[in-house]
């Protein structure tokens, strides 16, 4: 829930306020004191790479800018990520290109339709043949995690839909913490070089370790479970899927977010997805997280879905060829 200081939003119904808030940040505007200037409300104004809604285009633009831009630093001398950030739109439905046929199937869902997969260039997840076949079987046979009340898997964290706010970043010399409104998801990223947790422990959010490489925050995640999909399209991962993320400033209000995945049993080659993260300015705004009650609602609905023959995804291990 957001509320503008001194404004009249408090008197307006929640849905309207949410819509206003979404409009404010989706357009890249920074609302201050309840007023938007024309320059601020223009999409992409002041950005080094204005087209944040097309991952391939943004990626091509950002590559050169990332090398030259000098971001603001924390008092201890590393890029300062503290504050609030959001991806330009949710891609939980489908991370690949949403063509007209898909958009019709999804009920017109999604205002962005380009794939967020930038490598391979065709924008498709390069599944092995067995895995591609299994993927489409998954859609028919199993509930995706969201529908089955499960937590947000780590590979899906950055572009999950939000109601109002996005990611809050808390940063200290030895640790960075990301907290997200969606399903009250958080990630704790030690930067002190400590080893990963024992492999027997498998987490929805995995176990992430971070380090600074120049101006990039590099995060490596292990200890994932094999229940997580990238979206609702059967896009399974495995316990062996490696994930390396890089967060690099393009300009003071934009971060280039990149995640590279590798898993020879599941994919024919490594692949990479990219999104822009835009800074949300909390000045004069009450950025209150709305509670995500999807589990509470789901708890009531799940028995009915199961009665209709739908099943929770059993994990990739159970489905992979022996």
């Amino acid at each position: 829930m957001t509320r503008v200081r001194g404004g009249g939003l408090a008197a307006i119904g929640g849905a309207v306020a949410i819509a206003l808030a979404l409009t404010a940040w989706q357009s890249g505007a920074q609302t201050r004191g309840g007023a938007q200037t024309g320059a601020e409300s223009a999409a992409g104004a002041g950005r080094a790479c204005p087209n944040t809604r097309d991952s391939a285009d943004f990626h091509a633009c950002a590559i050169g800018k990332m090398e030259t831009f000098a971001p603001a630093l924390t008092p201890w001398g590393v890029p300062d990520l503290r504050g609030m950030w959001a991806a330009p739109a949710a891609r939980g439905q489908d991370i690949e290109e949403i063509d007209e046929k898909k958009a019709f199937l999804y009920g017109g869902f999604g205002s962005i339709n380009k794939s967020i997969v930038v490598d391979p260039p065709d924008g498709k997840i390069p599944y092995q043949p067995w895995a591609m076949a299994q993927r489409w079987k998954n859609v028919e046979a199993f509930l995706s995690q969201g529908a089955a009340c499960m937590p947000v898997p780590v590979q899906r964290w950055v572009y999950s839909p939000v109601q109002v706010t996005g990611h809050r970043v808390f940063q200290r010399p030895d640790q960075i913490v990301f907290s997200m409104e969606r399903q009250h998801t958080y990630r704790i990223v030690p930067l002190d070089g400590r080893p990963h947790i024992p492999p027997v422990i498998r987490l929805w959010r995995g176990d992430t370790r971070g380090r600074w490489e120049g101006h990039s925050l590099v995060m490596v995640t292990t200890n994932r479970n094999d229940f997580g999909w990238w979206d609702h399209q059967g896009t399974m991962s495995s316990e062996e899927t490696t994930m390396e993320e890089r967060l690099t400033f393009v300009d003071e209000n934009t971060i280039h977010y990149q995640a590279r995945f590798e898993d020879p049993k599941l994919f024919t080659r490594p692949w990479t997805m990219v999104m822009a993260l835009s800074r949300l300015s909390p000045v004069g705004i009450d950025f209150t997280d709305l509670e995500d009650t999807s589990v509470e609602n789901c708890e009531l609905e799940l028995p009915h879905m199961l009665e209709l023959g739908q099943r929770p995804f059993p994990g990739t291990k159970a489905l992979a060829p022996k």
């Binding site: 408090a10 499960m150 709305l290």
Partner: protein
């Protein structure tokens, strides 16, 4: 007088001054809690620093009132001032009913938000992160988060929350939090102690040492209680160097291990 002698003399004078002040204030000085004596370290923003991994060490999660051990339930002296929660007569009856029905009626059994204050003393670690706008608690249990807003905005009067709407401010080194707008669907513990949507919670967080903070919560709920009452407990910093919240995912474990829903659907080994 050398510099060293001067410093010594100044220290002695300061000590006498402090002693005199103690004598003058008499009883009041003795009632001051050790909490006030400890100077909390500061964050880079200059705020009292609560960063770290913490946990309550008591049996409040089972029953916040004094209770003997029972099967699977550790005994406890309770965390409620005066030991007994001042229920209205109808509410005392309701509490007893909740206790009898706890296996099915406890919202935690259905993986719902535990609510505040219950999430605080569920026996799992949590981490505190903070900046000038937000004091946030991130819990291992259910990966719940609790955001306490320090941005000066008032409560959302028109929106009910499972975890309430928490607004905090700094009173010296103490974080004072006012939480309202509960949905009335959460309990205090596994014993069926409960409140209504009219609850207002006033909390104080105070660092009392390098590895401790003291927490107290005063509960006002004129629909359920005859008067406001207070619970209090210390929180302990986990000493293991690798301590961090892991995951306890209630609904995931319920679906995949209890196979509760499979049973409901007439599926699985227990059909």
């Amino acid at each position: 007088m050398t510099t060293k002698q001067f410093v010594l003399a100044a220290l002695v004078a300061a000590g006498l001054g402090a002693g005199g002040a103690t004598l003058l204030t008499g009883q009041q000085a003795n009632t001051g809690s050790p909490a006030q004596a400890y100077q909390a370290p500061r964050t880079v923003e200059g705020l009292p620093d609560f960063h770290g991994v913490w946990q309550a060490v008591n049996s409040a999660s089972w029953d916040i009132e004094p209770h003997a051990a029972s099967w699977g339930v550790p005994p406890g002296l309770g965390v409620v001032d005066g030991n007994e929660i001042p229920y209205q007569p109808w509410a005392r009856t309701q509490k007893a009913q909740n206790f009898r029905d706890r296996e099915t009626a406890d919202p935690d059994r259905r993986c719902f938000y535990p609510g505040v204050p219950r999430i605080m003393y569920i026996p799992h670690p949590f981490q505190i992160v903070q900046n000038t706008d937000v004091f946030e608690l991130i819990f291992e249990y259910g990966h719940y988060t609790r955001l306490i807003y320090l941005n000066g905005f008032p409560h959302h009067e028109d929106i009910p929350f499972w975890m309430g709407d928490s607004r905090g401010r700094w009173d010296g080194d103490t974080l004072v939090v006012d939480t309202r707008n509960f949905n009335g669907m959460t309990w205090f513990d596994k014993a069926g102690n409960f409140h209504s949507d009219a609850m207002r919670l006033l909390e104080r967080f105070t660092r009392t040492g390098p590895d401790h903070f003291q927490w107290e919560a005063t509960i006002e709920d004129p629909k359920v209680f005859t008067r406001p009452w207070t619970m209090r407990m210390p929180f302990y910093r986990l000493q293991e160097p690798d301590a961090m919240p892991l995951e306890y995912e209630c609904i995931f474990l319920d679906v995949y291990e209890n196979r509760r829903y499979h049973k409901l659907a007439g599926d699985g080994p227990d059909q």
